[in-house]
């Protein structure tokens, strides 16, 4: 390359610094967004798996009603099992306020009296381990929520009797990284649910289960991230064999448990979303670079002609113009990579806060060098090549022609279509669109990319809002009363409705059930309640309205998805060794869990003597009497906990706030990028038309007429971009919404009809706004240059 030609690069940078700065900003933003999301997602996964390995998180949890403690030895002998611990897990109530009788559900888990647990070890950031029979470790997130500290005394109610304990320490445990109570309530709700660890001897003494366990946790050989599915399948078979004779057997893999599943779905789902957004940011920034460089090179036509006339080769010219892209890529890539790394703390930390209460022992956010280099390399290569096509094209123009002022070219066949039925102004608009199909296609494509980003975010937000809002709206009660054992429905109904402050109540049975699908079974919950005035009224998605009849059941959309069940199908339901068949009358929205809703009338046909055993009462209370009623209900015999549903909803809303904010952040980033893409493509479009616009102005065409013509052209292109962008964006949003699908959790993907016009109007407004800089610059052109035959 000629040395003197290199000096032109510096001169050109100085002369066109605004253009280069714009390109540099966009590239830096693109690389920074990439760095903030994709490598950050990788760091997050690394942190989670590091935590799992550090604390020996289980691969399986086996639950039975009761089994001898020695059975764990058989489990440890299974090939591929690295560790297994037997334990007792019981539900208890914690009396958080000595003045109030109401209890909050606290799960007690036994830990070995001697030595540490080998599976699901606790990390104790505050306080110390258990040293006495009357000491417990309390889940840190739960303790923090209720302001309980190490050294505090707490009263636990176990099997109806109170026991005083001292909190030895606050614990983080991988099994409750996301501290959800169950698969049906997988998100942390510290107002309603907590976990405590207690010495094995102390617990067996309290529940009178010496020498027995009801849960076994199993860890396999290898690291958490790499355990093979074949090994898992083999171990599962062995576990099934060992425990086949024990009642109440459930074997769940890590991802089938509440916390493991939520983590897996969120980490993987977010990682995919982050990867997708990173790719979109990167692609958009590269497209903008290509547009900007293309414009620059095309404006250099006469200089290229001069250089060619002077004997500069085509190769030298192409290399010369490639160096602009190379410099933009190198500088933008470097700065963006560094910025992206620092921004990544802003994307990971809120996630850790939301999901793990801000404490993750294996948390790391070291620079993910291979991924950062990947983004940097892609950027440098792509920005370098961005100017290749226009550089090659322009340098190929014979110098004699390049040096002459541009003469009108013969319009292509497409733009020679008569269009006589249109007024002249519209005719010109459409011919302009058809004259340079590549420019028009690029503008429409730019608008389409923006539309995709906006509608992907809107679809994700709509899906989240609909799924959660409809879930919360479906539960039409204030308190949920849980009793320890099944009781007759009429008895509980009477007891509950006579409590002071209770307006009305409805008893229900929430029970485990196995749904048999065509290819697999699913262990889930059945909700049985009176169909005449149900206190749970889920939103209908398909079929007949929920509880509108008594000759069938309704299922949540997750169950329909997991087992591929449709309205009208016969469902096989199995519980307590009995199997029944019921027709699916409808599919309802139910973000949490995969429940089956059974009308009481149908259920009592299946029970001997038509009795209705229940374990739950859904209660509506008089205004302002929630606390009193909750306290009074706790005193009803057999009641183990009374859940304040409004507090539970608030907890879940707090937990979801991060994802909503995240989705809005994506939407705002999308809109910013949309604006950048559209401003650049529209400006490029207008820039190419500047000569025509200047001629029109010199002929006396008014600014208003020009604005109308330009807007018409761009709005036509915008409609094309939007027409393709909306369905693609919708599908991208739905894909993102489904990245967190699990057996017992999933959003119902939806784009609200009202969002479509709102989104389209927003895009069109962006397009209109995007024309402002281009039109301003067109109106600033010195019209004298038109008559002087100079390039405008």
């Amino acid at each position: 390359m000629l040395k003197t030609l290199n000096r032109k690069i510096i001169g050109d940078w100085k002369a066109h610094w605004k253009r280069f700065f714009a390109a540099w900003i966009v590239v830096t933003m693109g690389v920074a967004f990439y760095g903030a999301f994709y490598p950050a997602g990788k760091s997050l996964l690394t942190s989670i798996y590091a935590t799992y390995d550090q604390l020996a998180y289980m691969d399986f949890v086996v639950s039975v009603d009761q089994a001898p403690a020695e059975i764990v030895k058989q489990v440890r002998e299974i090939k591929g099992v690295s560790a297994a611990d037997g334990r007792i897990v019981v539900e208890s109530g914690i009396q958080l306020d000595p003045a109030q009788s109401s209890l909050t559900n606290l799960r007690l888990i036994s830990v070995p009296d001697k030595g540490a647990a080998t599976v699901n070890r606790s990390d104790i950031p505050t306080g110390r381990g258990i040293q006495a029979a009357d000491e417990i470790l309390l889940l840190k997130r739960f303790a923090d929520y209720h302001h309980i500290k190490p050294g505090d005394s707490v009263k636990l109610w176990i099997n109806g009797a109170p026991h005083d304990f001292k909190v030895a320490g606050l614990a983080f445990n991988p099994e409750y990284l996301v501290a959800g109570r169950s698969r049906e309530m997988p998100f942390p709700a510290p107002s309603a649910f907590g976990v405590a660890w207690i010495g094995e001897a102390a617990l067996t003494e309290l529940i009178k289960m010496p020498g027995h366990i009801n849960s076994v946790v199993v860890r396999l050989d290898g690291e958490s991230e790499t355990v093979s599915s074949a090994l898992r399948a083999q171990v599962r078979r062995e576990l099934e064999t060992i425990f086949k004779d024990y009642a109440g057997l459930t074997i769940l893999e890590r991802e089938q448990t509440a916390s493991g599943g939520v983590i897996q779905a969120n980490a993987q789902g977010n990682f995919q979303t982050m990867a997708m957004f990173s790719a979109m940011f990167l692609m958009a920034s590269l497209a903008i670079t290509a547009i900007l460089l293309g414009r620059l090179i095309e404006s250099e036509r006469q200089r290229i002609g001069t250089l060619r006339a002077l004997g500069v080769t085509r190769r030298e010219l192409v290399l010369h113009y490639l160096s602009f892209g190379l410099l933009i890529g190198l500088i933008g890539g470097s700065v963006g990579s560094v910025l992206g790394y620092f921004i990544s703390f802003g994307t990971i930390t809120p996630f850790v806060d939301a999901i793990a209460g801000g404490y993750l022992p294996g948390y790391v956010n070291t620079p993910q060098i291979p991924f950062i280099l990947l983004g940097f390399g892609l950027t440098v290569v792509a920005t370098t090549l961005a100017g290749a096509a226009p550089a090659w094209r322009e340098s190929g123009t014979p110098p004699g022609i390049a040096l002459r002022p541009a003469m009108p070219s013969i319009p292509n066949a497409l733009s020679r279509i008569s269009l006589k039925f249109l007024p002249l102004s519209l005719r010109q608009t459409f011919r302009n669109i058809l004259r340079t199909p590549s420019r028009s296609a690029a503008t429409a494509a730019g608008i389409m990319v923006g539309t995709v980003m906006v509608f992907a975010s809107l679809s994700l937000l709509d899906s989240m809002n609909f799924s959660f809002d409809s879930y919360f709206a479906s539960n039409q009660y204030d308190l949920q009363v849980l009793v320890g054992n099944l009781v007759l429905g009429d008895d509980l109904q009477k007891q509950v409705t006579t409590v002071n402050g209770v307006d009305s109540a409805q008893v229900a049975l929430f029970g485990p059930i196995t749904v048999r699908g065509a290819s697999r079974d699913l262990d889930t919950l059945a909700y049985v309640l009176d169909e005449s005035k149900p206190f749970i009224m889920p939103s209908l998605l398909e079929g007949e309205a929920a509880f509108s009849g008594k000759n069938g059941v309704w299922i949540g959309h997750n169950l329909a998805r997991v087992l591929n069940v449709h309205v009208g199908d016969m469902l096989k339901l199995s519980a307590m060794d009995k199997e029944r068949q019921a027709k699916v009358l409808g599919i309802v929205s139910q973000a949490f869990g995969s429940p089956v809703f059974i009308p009481r009338s149908l259920f009592t046909q299946w029970t001997p003597g038509g009795v209705f055993p229940v374990n739950t009462a859904l209660v509506r209370v008089s205004a302002g009497k929630t606390a009193k009623a909750r306290d009074a209900l706790a005193n009803v015999p057999g009641v183990v906990s009374v859940l304040d549903y409004r507090a539970f909803v608030k907890d879940i809303q707090d937990y979801l706030a991060f994802w909503k904010v995240n989705s809005w952040a994506f939407a705002i980033c999308g809109i910013v990028l949309t604006l950048a893409v559209i401003v650049n493509t529209v400006s490029a479009n207008l820039h190419e038309q500047q000569t025509d616009l200047a001629i029109l102005r010199s002929l006396g065409v008014t600014q208003r007429e020009i604005v109308a013509s330009v807007l018409t052209e761009l709005l036509v292109l915008a409609i094309v971009g939007v027409a393709f962008g909306v369905p693609i964006g919708r599908e991208v949003g739905f894909y993102m919404a489904h990245t967190v699908d699990m057996e017992f959790y999933g959003l119902f993907a939806l784009l609200q009809p009202v969002s479509i016009p709102l989104g389209v109007v927003a895009i069109l407004m962006i397009v209109v706004l995007a024309t402002v800089p281009g039109l301003k610059s067109a109106f600033k052109i010195d019209l004298g240059l038109v008559s002087k035959g100079q390039s405008v």
Binding site: P405, M407, P408, S409, I410, P411, S415, R416, L424, R427, Q428, R431, N432, R435, T691, D692, I695, L696, R697, S698, L699, G700, V701, T702, Q703, D782, L783, G784, V786, S787, K788, G789
Partner: protein, 233 residues
């Protein structure tokens, strides 16, 4: 009173650190219906003068009055309306809109005026009746310039300004274009102001204004202008 009155007009440009005095205290008068040639060497300020007269640029000093309208006092919108109603431009490089056919290019300006020529008739007059549905890219330079002439005249402007109309054409085509302009001037009575550095063209003008260094050097009236067909250069 003259149709065009330019008094003490100056226009300066800043090029880097240098101030270029394109037009300096220039004054002149032009009568209605005249065919005027402004003659001057390259850089003498003749295109700038034409731009000032046509409202494409604004004078720094002095006054320009066309048909009792003070062009130098107009704002951007008024200048646009002035160009729309009063002025027809013929550019050296034609500046036709490539996406419009010959007829449509002419119709564009015809639509700006309630009293305009039929584009087809006008194109017939400039001998392009058989090229009306062609696009500019399908025409020769001379043909494009004749379309530009038709476009300039279509709205029946009071003033037609032509900047080096033969500058991009060979002699034969240039004469043909000048002939069309002269004929239309005689037929319509519209004032034509032609800027050129080609002294031969001055022989067909009613009035010849020679400018140099941004000022009027000399004004000559031509009692017997030549027919463009008699010109040669």
């Amino acid at each position: 009173m003259s149709q065009i009155s330019i008094k003490d007009v100056s226009k300066r440009y800043r090029v880097g650190n240098t101030v270029v005095r394109a037009v300096e205290h220039l004054s002149m008068e032009i009568e209605r219906g005249e065919f005027v040639v402004i003659l001057g060497p390259s850089g003498s300020g003749k295109t700038t003068l034409l731009n000032l007269l046509g409202g494409l640029e604004c004078a720094d000093e002095g006054s320009i009055c066309v048909d009792d309208e003070w062009v130098n006092q107009m704002d951007e919108n008024a200048l646009t309306l002035y160009r729309r109603r009063k002025v027809g431009f013929i550019f050296q490089f034609f500046n036709l809109l490539p996406t419009l056919t010959t007829r449509e290019n002419v119709a564009l300006t015809a639509e700006m005026s309630a009293d305009s020529y039929d584009p087809a008739v006008l194109l017939g007059q400039v001998k392009l009746g058989d090229r009306m549905d062609h696009y500019p890219g399908q025409l020769s330079g001379g043909q494009q310039q004749r379309v530009a002439i038709a476009r300039a005249l279509a709205k029946k402007p009071a003033l037609v300004l032509a900047d080096e109309p033969t500058g991009s054409l060979d002699i034969e085509t240039g004469i043909e274009v000048l002939d069309v302009m002269r004929s239309l001037n005689r037929e319509t009575g519209q004032t034509f102001v032609v800027v050129t550095h080609n002294a031969a063209i001055a022989q067909m003008a009613d009035r010849v204004i020679r400018i140099g260094n941004g000022t009027v050097q000399r004004v000559d009236m031509n009692p017997s202008p030549l027919n463009p067909r008699e010109l040669s250069w």
